[in-house]
Symmetry: C2
Subunit: 355 residues, 2 copies
């Protein structure tokens, strides 16, 4: 059973609208619904699809409502339409339990949960993008009685959105995101909490490290309340592991035990190395090349044109503007073994290269 549409997206927030835009880009007919007429109007206006009407018969329904409403909304979709239904909630066991209490066995077969690992600190349809899922993991979480054709259809949607499908059972998914998403979020919140009433002089020493650690803590608290509540068992298991390690850390630091602290620090390094590369592959060694340039866009174009002629593939770029200066600093991230070649070749072409 191929994905031919129409696809109905229920809930036109950041995720729902992004999926709708990506599905439209893939040539599918997209229907939209939302309890907020404003969100619905905005999403339609962005070209994400048209409001669903009586008589529409979607092939696939994507429920993208807030976590608290998932169970009810999924059951409603299964009852109203003879369609495959998925949702994009961050937690999978709790909604599945609710759905199985609300619908019969036949309808339950048409339900397959899923969870795209993409998001933003921003929310609402205006922050949506068809490119949000490009090269990101998208978990598809069949339950024992899910119809194989339904699983295929949901996987096809993820692929059509440019994502990489990862299939795993709902409970396994919830343990995985507790570890890779919910725990990092909650500890980032604790770090950020220590900054809330810090003196300005202390905060003026903030470097890139604390910005990176705390960034996710800026996300919508109402949404995260729901996510954490619906995955409480898996989250609590990890929080109590962390509590034991925090106690060990406090004991080591207060007792001056460098070995005790060393064990924890080494384990942290091992953890950072366990995370797979950006696209699931191994982590590639990269090195930065810093280049000064006058802070206007023409120079940036000239720099990239020169890098193109030199033939080194640029993996990432960071730009450091300082409003108080008239030169900017560009960091070109390239494969480690190309860095010296790029730096020397750019210098030959008259660029001021640092390092």
């Amino acid at each position: 059973m191929g994905l031919t549409g129409p696809v109905l997206v229920v809930g036109t927030g950041l995720l729902g609208t992004s999926i709708a835009l990506a599905a439209r880009r893939a040539g599918l007919d997209v229907l939209l619904s939302d309890v907020s007429p404003e969100h619905l109007r905005t999403a339609s206006g962005l070209g994400a699809g048209r409001p669903v009407a009586d008589g529409d018969a979607p092939q696939l329904v994507v429920v993208a409502t807030p976590p608290d409403h998932l169970g009810v909304a999924i059951a409603e979709a299964l009852t109203r339409y003879d369609a495959v239904v998925t949702d994009v909630g961050s937690v999978k066991s709790a909604p599945l339990r609710e759905v199985s209490e609300r619908v019969g066995a036949e309808a339950l077969e048409r339900y397959v949960g899923s969870h795209p690992m993409a998001g933003s600190e921003r929310s609402g349809p205006l922050a949506a993008s068809a490119a949000l899922f490009e090269a990101r993991p998208w978990a598809v979480t069949p339950h024992p009685s899910s119809d194989p054709g339904a699983v295929e259809l949901v996987s096809a949607l993820a692929s059509a959105c440019g994502a990489t499908v990862v299939t795993l059972p709902p409970e396994e998914h919830d343990r995985a995101v507790a570890r890779t998403s919910h725990l990092p979020h909650l500890l980032a919140v604790l770090v950020a909490g220590r900054l809330a009433d810090a003196p300005a002089a202390h905060l003026s020493l903030s470097g890139q490290g604390v910005r990176d650690v705390t960034r996710v803590a800026g996300s919508d608290p109402a949404l995260w309340q729901q996510i954490v509540a619906s995955n409480a068992p898996a989250v609590l298991e990890l929080l109590s592991e962390v509590r034991a390690e925090l106690d060990a850390m406090i004991t080591a630091v207060s007792g001056g035990s460098r070995e005790g602290l060393g064990v924890l620090l080494d384990r942290g390094v091992a953890g950072t190395q366990a995370i797979p590369g950006k696209h699931g592959g191994p982590v590639r060694a990269t090195a930065p090349v810093f280049v000064s340039l006058p802070d206007h866009p023409g120079e940036l174009a000239r720099l990239f044109a020169d890098a193109g002629v030199i033939g080194v593939n640029i993996e990432d770029v960071r730009i450091d503007h300082d409003p108080g200066r008239d030169t900017g600093l560009v960091e070109l991230v390239v494969a480690e073994d190309s860095a010296l070649h790029l730096a020397a070749s750019l210098e030959d072409r008259g660029w001021v290269v640092h390092g």
Copy 2:
């Protein structure tokens, strides 16, 4: 007393060599020393300066040794040279205490601690860059008997390296970095530690959030053992605050108290908003514009050339390569009120813009 050099850098690791390169760029004569002849040779070979010789009379000595050796190395420099001496260690009270036990009152006046808020997960002279300090804060931490001329000289070095000087007392500095650097580091270590023995299927769901939260935990554990040990009192105070909040978090999640969790999440949001903007100014609202392009460097140059003609200033750039595809995705970060204009103008010029 102006900074005229020579500047002697003791310890040619990442920080020492970067300072030497920046001082050379500023036209200063730079002398180098290191217990490792190999590091010294590498740093000299990079153009960071020449090895110090008998009879050299530096105006300013910068001690950039590992934290454990700071006290001894600073005292030695104060005794051997009639020069102003600073260090670039991450903690300021402990070395000051050691130095004041080892040298007389006259020599102590010539010592002013400092701490550039810049670094890297990489280490050693080959990772050094003259641009490392550009637009970063650089703490200068005079003690009560520091000579004002010495304070000026150290501040002049920080400015010559392109950094923004933040002056504060040593104890205040240590409390500040415990909050903005050491605590974030230690909690990132606890999050990363949970990943060390996680199943591969769990890790395959890792998104940008967990990567950002844990990045700093990949830094050299031996260095961090020393940093944390030398700032133990300030670090312990914060760790026990976090322990109390973690207990509150566990109670809230296990008791199903959304209000209790909400208070903590709200405080986290407030903390992320308290961090000043990249260059000390207020945080500016930005928005991303996603553009597809064939994954070769010439297209990137063409994109920047077009953005230049459109006249929108690009604040940051992210490139998302997928080795399995022949198109790349570029995220241009611009001021929020320019995003729609940029997106529309790029589309007019034939670019595929998402969102």
